[in-house]
Symmetry: C2
Subunit: 242 residues, 2 copies
């Protein structure tokens, strides 16, 4: 936890924050700050700053907040991700919140198992908890928007036309095209990453018809947990940084 | 498992491979190939190709190997990684084998806990098993060399001077410098990635004295499991691909 993420409900007026539960226990046992010490804090979807410790125990942490920094900017990056296995989805939500995206679209695809959509990992409170861990790690406060699409075609037909224009990229290990600076140019970028077995050819054709550039990072197949940050880093480097 | 990794001991002459144990059980239960089907295979640190299934049961898989492809090239990338927690080290070894490096140096640092060096995750057979999982995922056969350094200064004084010349990079979230194409130019690149709490300033100074360029991907702090592929992708993109 590199930033203590606060909820509006933690505030008792503007000058006093009282934190209880998991976060208080973590700060008391791991950070162990002295009274008067400053902790990096932020309000979920809001400003960042420091909190001066007024009292710190395992059950209750009391801070005086100084929130003088804007939330980090919204990254001009959206991800479309074929829904991974439930065990993977939690870690990925956390890492994607750390990396920073505007909107994460989780979608069905031919090689996604239907049962994954019934997983408790997709319950709103479970998604929210995973995102918050990622923000605490990254010292950020803005939660990515997460949208679950039960049909890929529904995303392509109903959601895609309304997205702001920008580069559209499709990661596909079987293709040969290496990304160029021209491929990723534009105000925004939408990156589609398939399931572990890859997109099927019919899906690839449909994406390409909708203006996606299919690309590969190379012949090596990566686990989704490694592929997402590797592709994010690759695309961001070609775009000249964050 | 996208490639079935074979050991020389699996061969009964040049024309017959007999696989038992975990790998046979996995192929029988997950891949379920018909007799006559072709599996993607490779010999550890050796050639790749396909194996024609002669027999497939839960205890024994018999193949006729056709190994007509060279092993993948050795990537001109070395990693120096501050030793992470044991739970993390296994997954990282797997992902690093998938991404592909020449040599992985695992090192001590000020913010690494000494106890990590006694972990069973660093036993040679445990390292080897993690690397093999990564190769099976990536369809590669060449194991990265893994060297454990109990003292960072021993690496810097004794190992570093003998490495082939190339770009030397130090990931350090507190610094402001963004990587440029010039920073990563050269035949080879060595990337140093610190512990979760970062390198201490004295370590950074020592690295910079030895010719490392300190850089940041941005203000967001990533878990090591996400930082390694993100940095790998970023650096590789700037180097013009794999």
């Amino acid at each position: 936890m590199n930033l203590l993420l606060l909820d509006p409900a933690d505030f008792q007026g503007d000058d006093r924050v009282v934190v209880r539960g998991r976060r208080a226990a973590h700060v008391a046992s791991v950070v162990r700050p002295a009274v008067g010490a400053e902790l990096v804090i932020g309000v979920v979807d809001g400003p960042r700053g420091v909190g001066v410790v007024l009292a710190c125990g395992p059950d209750e942490l009391v801070l005086e907040p100084r929130l003088d920094r804007e939330p980090e900017p919204v990254p001009p990056i959206d991800l479309l991700l074929a829904l991974p296995r439930p065990k993977v989805v939690r870690r990925l939500l956390t890492d994607i919140a750390s990396l920073g995206v505007d909107t994460l679209h989780l979608t069905n695809a031919w090689r996604v198992e239907r049962a994954y959509f019934a997983s408790p990992a997709l319950a709103p409170e479970s998604i929210d908890a995973a995102l918050r861990r990622g923000l605490e790690q990254a010292r950020a406060t803005r939660r990515p928007r997460v949208v679950v699409h039960h049909r890929l075609m529904a995303f392509l037909d109903d959601t895609l036309p309304d997205l702001a224009p920008g580069a559209r990229l499709l990661a596909h290990p079987n293709h040969r095209h290496r990304l160029t600076v021209a491929d990723v140019a534009g105000e925004r970028v939408l990156i589609a990453i398939g399931p572990e077995g890859g997109w099927i050819e019919r899906e690839v054709t449909t994406f390409v018809e909708r203006g996606f550039t299919s690309f590969t990072l190379g012949p090596r197949l990566l686990r989704t947990e490694a592929a997402v940050p590797a592709i994010y880093g690759w695309v961001t480097a070609l775009r000249g940084g964050l």
